[in-house]
């Protein structure tokens, strides 16, 4: 089938198209630069056309989600809909059911969402859930930062074996890249402890967080992976964590980017939910925003990218492999808390969280997120996330967009809605910058695609997948700084969401359900090293894992119809 999206106003930062009125054509699932006279015309006159959204960091599939849904049935009561001829019923607000997750992203005009934390031991289950989330392509990021084998190799500075281990484990878990969460800290939690700063050692491992980060970053570049290491640094959410964040950033100074697939991106480290890592002070009593210091440092380093983890003022659910942090949250809020240990790999914790405009701490977190968006100069280096569901559900992205585009709206909130700490402890009221539609398209599409090294999405380049979103907003007829509510409304539901050339959303309704696809990275050229490493660790694996080696890998039938990205690792 051939289609032509006619007369839209196109924002495609990867091709430097900034609000031009033009047609976008696609055929057989791909963007093309011309179609025949038979092409079906979709009239999108004066509506915004962008590549479909790419979410670089969200928690949508895996054991944490299931545990979250099980122990928060009160969340599942929110957002319940009846099934229709096209859709299954939906449920949940902060932890939507799998179908609801797919539908809601699709309604927002998204096509790709990265599952940000997959314990390899639970990878099978993660892929089962990915298979039940419709409409999206979903790569998943296996966790390596507290893996016993990785920590052992890092202690010996054995980068080559780490690289072989990672190459093998990406195949085994059908993963996309290296995720690191509170390196050494989640392991320490097994002993009821945490690490503080990057120079603390995991108990009984004699290796520091910084050593693990550097070793994994080097291995990442040695393998030429399309994405860099993706890190949730130490000391998340702790007042006074700015020095840890800056030391984490500095740890990868001088590490050279890989070749081939690695050349699409600029960074060697992606810092996730930077908002949670930008707190000054010593305690919750004297905490202030560290956004200025963090952004200043970040702007100077050209080898880093980040996403924000913007607080949205909702009742949500936090879930992370940073289990000791969840325990800290439990001690603060007293709400019901659950915790999990994943053998030799990682841990996890979950607790409900209520971000309230009346709360000084929530207000501070909200302001820090926005400060970072406004103080980080290059939109290509920052992505829009809420670390869904940790700082809020992804369904609030349109609201965040409206805040970024309207200083007036932000000022109004600072003066009339949120806690007075915003004036006393943050710079937000002094920041007047406003994003435009081009910037928004950058932080929600072009930048995350580039950061992940995708060469088939995030842009409307001929030959790319026809992943396209159309919004019922006329950029020539709206003043985003004065019409924040209309901006939110306009981005809330796409007029069209097109995925691989299939029209999934039409006139703001889902008209088609499409099976999801996993994207995983297949490193080539390391096969012998991989086997050597597997042989080496086998006695340990047999002794300490509760599953047999034969049952550990994600077998092909768990991943139907995957998109395999072959990477030349040598």
């Amino acid at each position: 089938m051939e289609y032509i999206l006619k007369n839209g106003i196109v924002y495609d930062p990867a091709n430097e198209i900034n609000g031009e009125k033009m047609d976008v054509m696609f055929k057989d699932g791909l963007i093309v630069d011309n179609v025949s006279a038979d092409a079906e015309v979709l009239d999108v006159t004066d509506k915004i056309v962008m590549p479909a959204g790419v979410d670089p960091h969200a928690h949508v599939a895996g054991p944490k989600l299931v545990v979250g849904r099980l122990y928060r049935p009160e969340d599942s009561r929110r957002g319940v809909t009846q099934k229709t001829k096209v859709l299954r019923s939906e449920s949940g607000f902060s932890i939507p059911s799998c179908p609801a997750t797919g539908y809601r992203y699709s309604r927002l005009g998204y096509g790709t969402v990265v599952e940000a934390a997959m314990p390899p031991l639970e990878a099978k289950h993660t892929h089962e859930e990915i298979a039940t989330i419709p409409q999206l392509d979903i790569p998943a990021m296996p966790l390596f930062g507290n893996n016993w084998f990785v920590m052992e190799y890092a202690k010996d500075n054995n980068i080559e074996d780490i690289a072989a281990f990672v190459a093998a484990w990406l195949k085994i878990s059908k993963g996309y890249g290296i995720k690191i969460v509170n390196p050494c800290g989640s392991e320490a939690w097994g002993w009821g402890m945490n690490v503080h700063g990057v120079n603390d050692k995991a108990p009984y491992f004699d290796v520091t967080s910084k050593e693990v980060i550097v070793a994994l970053a080097k291995a990442n570049e040695m393998l030429n992976l399309p994405h860099s290491i993706h890190i949730h640094p130490n000391d998340l959410g702790h007042p006074g964590n700015v020095p840890t964040t800056i030391e984490t950033m500095d740890a990868v100074k001088g590490i050279k980017k890989g070749k081939g697939a690695a050349e699409v991106r600029d960074q060697v480290m992606h810092l996730t939910h930077l908002q949670f890592h930008s707190y000054l002070g010593n305690s919750w009593k004297d905490v202030t925003s560290g956004a200025e210091e963090v952004a200043k440092h970040f702007n100077k380093a050209d080898n880093l990218t980040c996403d924000i983890g913007q607080v949205t003022f909702d009742e949500t659910t936090t879930m992370t492999a940073d289990a000791p942090m969840e325990y800290d949250l439990f001690k603060l809020s007293g709400l019901k808390w659950t915790n999990k240990d994943i053998e030799c790999e990682t841990a996890a914790g979950i607790i409900p969280c209520i971000y309230s405009k009346r709360s000084p701490v929530s207000t501070l977190q909200w302001a820090i997120g926005l400060e970072l968006f406004l103080l980080i100069e290059d939109p290509w280096r920052v992505c829009l996330t809420t670390d869904h569901p940790n700082a809020g559900p992804f369904t609030r992205y349109p609201r965040i967009i409206s805040w970024l585009m309207s200083n007036e709206k932000r000022q109004d909130m600072c003066d009339n809605e949120v806690h007075k700490w915003v004036h006393k402890r943050t710079l937000l009221p002094t920041l007047e910058r406003e994003y435009d539609f081009y910037d928004i398209a950058t932080i929600t599409r072009a930048a995350p695609a580039k950061i992940y090294g995708f060469t088939d999405r995030g842009a409307l380049t001929p030959g790319y997948r026809a992943d396209i979103a159309v919004y019922d907003i006329n950029p020539n007829d709206i003043d985003p700084s004065k019409q924040a509510d209309e901006i939110e409304k306009g981005f809330n539901v796409a007029d069209y969401t097109i995925k691989d050339g299939q029209i999934l959303v039409k006139d703001k309704e889902i008209v088609k359900v499409k099976e999801s696809q996993n994207i995983w990275v297949n490193v080539k050229g390391w096969e012998q090293n991989e086997q050597k490493v597997i042989d080496n660790i086998m006695p340990f694996f047999t002794q300490y894992y509760s599953v047999k080696w034969e049952n550990y890998p994600v077998h092909d039938h768990y991943v139907s119809n995957p998109i395999r990205v072959d990477v030349d690792g040598k």
């Binding site: 049935p73 009160e74 969340d75």
Partner: protein, 288 residues
């Protein structure tokens, strides 16, 4: 005033769901509107007129001017008055699950028994059940830690397990007996029980008040004896007579109050002998 009378003509083995048929929604409806309405039953909808003859008399400008009268066997009608904010509902029968759940105003009278979750998470209004209730009267729904926050529930008969679970405000008065774990996890509000309680009221309570006039079978370890009080005043009500006063649940640093009628629990009182400051419920528990 508008009176809407539902006279049952047929029952259903799968429950009818009445949460759309509340005064807030139907105050302007005519008989013709009801004739068009389909009521949810399981995963389908059926004409309400298959099950009820509906008569509408008078006019209403808002939900507060509506009285709904439900006649027949309502044992398979659930969500009656769920989420209503005003008006009156009279049920001349026992009713199914979730009667008055999440109501914020108005009143409901049930001339019979109620199934589980009566008055669940209600925030205002008045719910009276002349008969017994099953589990979770005035409680929170599964997983939720914020239960009933306001309003009043009166149960003429006995109440089932976990009555007033997670109570966060409002009042529950049970005129009969109460099953286990009344007021578990409560943080505010008042539960008054005229009859006996078999065991464990107030488990993990952080605050709020439980008054039991009848006999208590077994108290949890986390309650510390405060002493004997006479005519205690609790949330504006004076309870005449002598009460044994406990604080709990100390496991959670709770500051909740539990008052036990001294007369009905005089065996317990006798066991205490000379009361001294160190006397704790833990000792009492072991003695039982």
């Amino acid at each position: 005033m508008k009176t809407i009378t539902f006279d049952q003509i047929k029952t259903s083995s799968i429950a009818l769901e009445f949460d759309e048929l509340i005064p807030d929604e139907i105050y302007s409806w005519t008989e013709a509107d009801f004739a068009k309405y389909q009521v949810p039953i399981g995963n389908s909808r059926f004409p309400i007129t298959d099950f009820f003859d509906i008569t509408v008399e008078g006019e209403a400008n808002g939900p507060e001017e509506v009285e709904m009268i439900l006649n027949g066997d309502l044992n398979r009608v659930k969500y009656i008055g769920c989420k209503m904010s005003a008006g009156n509902i009279v049920c001349n029968s026992s009713v199914d699950l979730h009667v008055g759940a999440e109501m914020s105003g108005g009143s409901i009278l049930v001339k019979g028994n109620a199934a589980a979750h009566a008055g669940r998470e209600m925030s205002g209004g008045y719910l009276e059940i002349e008969g017994n209730t099953k589990e979770f009267t005035g409680a929170s729904y599964i997983g939720e830690w914020r239960g009933m926050t306001g309003g009043q529930i009166v149960v003429g008969g006995n109440a089932g397990k976990q009555c007033g679970e997670c109570l966060t405000g409002g009042r529950i008065h049970v005129k009969g007996n109460c099953d286990i774990l009344a007021g578990i996890h409560m943080t505010k509000g008042l539960i008054e029980i005229d009859g006996d309680v078999n065991r464990w009221p107030g488990g993990q309570m952080k605050n709020g008040n439980i008054v039991i006039h009848g006999f208590l079978g077994r108290l949890l370890e986390g309650f510390v004896l405060n002493g004997i009080v006479v005519d205690p005043e609790v949330e504006g009500t004076t309870f005449k007579g002598k009460y044994i006063h406990y604080t709990g649940d100390i496991g959670l640093n709770g500051k909740g109050n539990l008052y036990l009628g001294a007369e009905a629990n005089k065996e317990k009182l006798a066991e205490y002998g000379e009361l001294d400051d160190e006397y704790t419920s833990i000792r009492e528990y072991r003695n039982l």
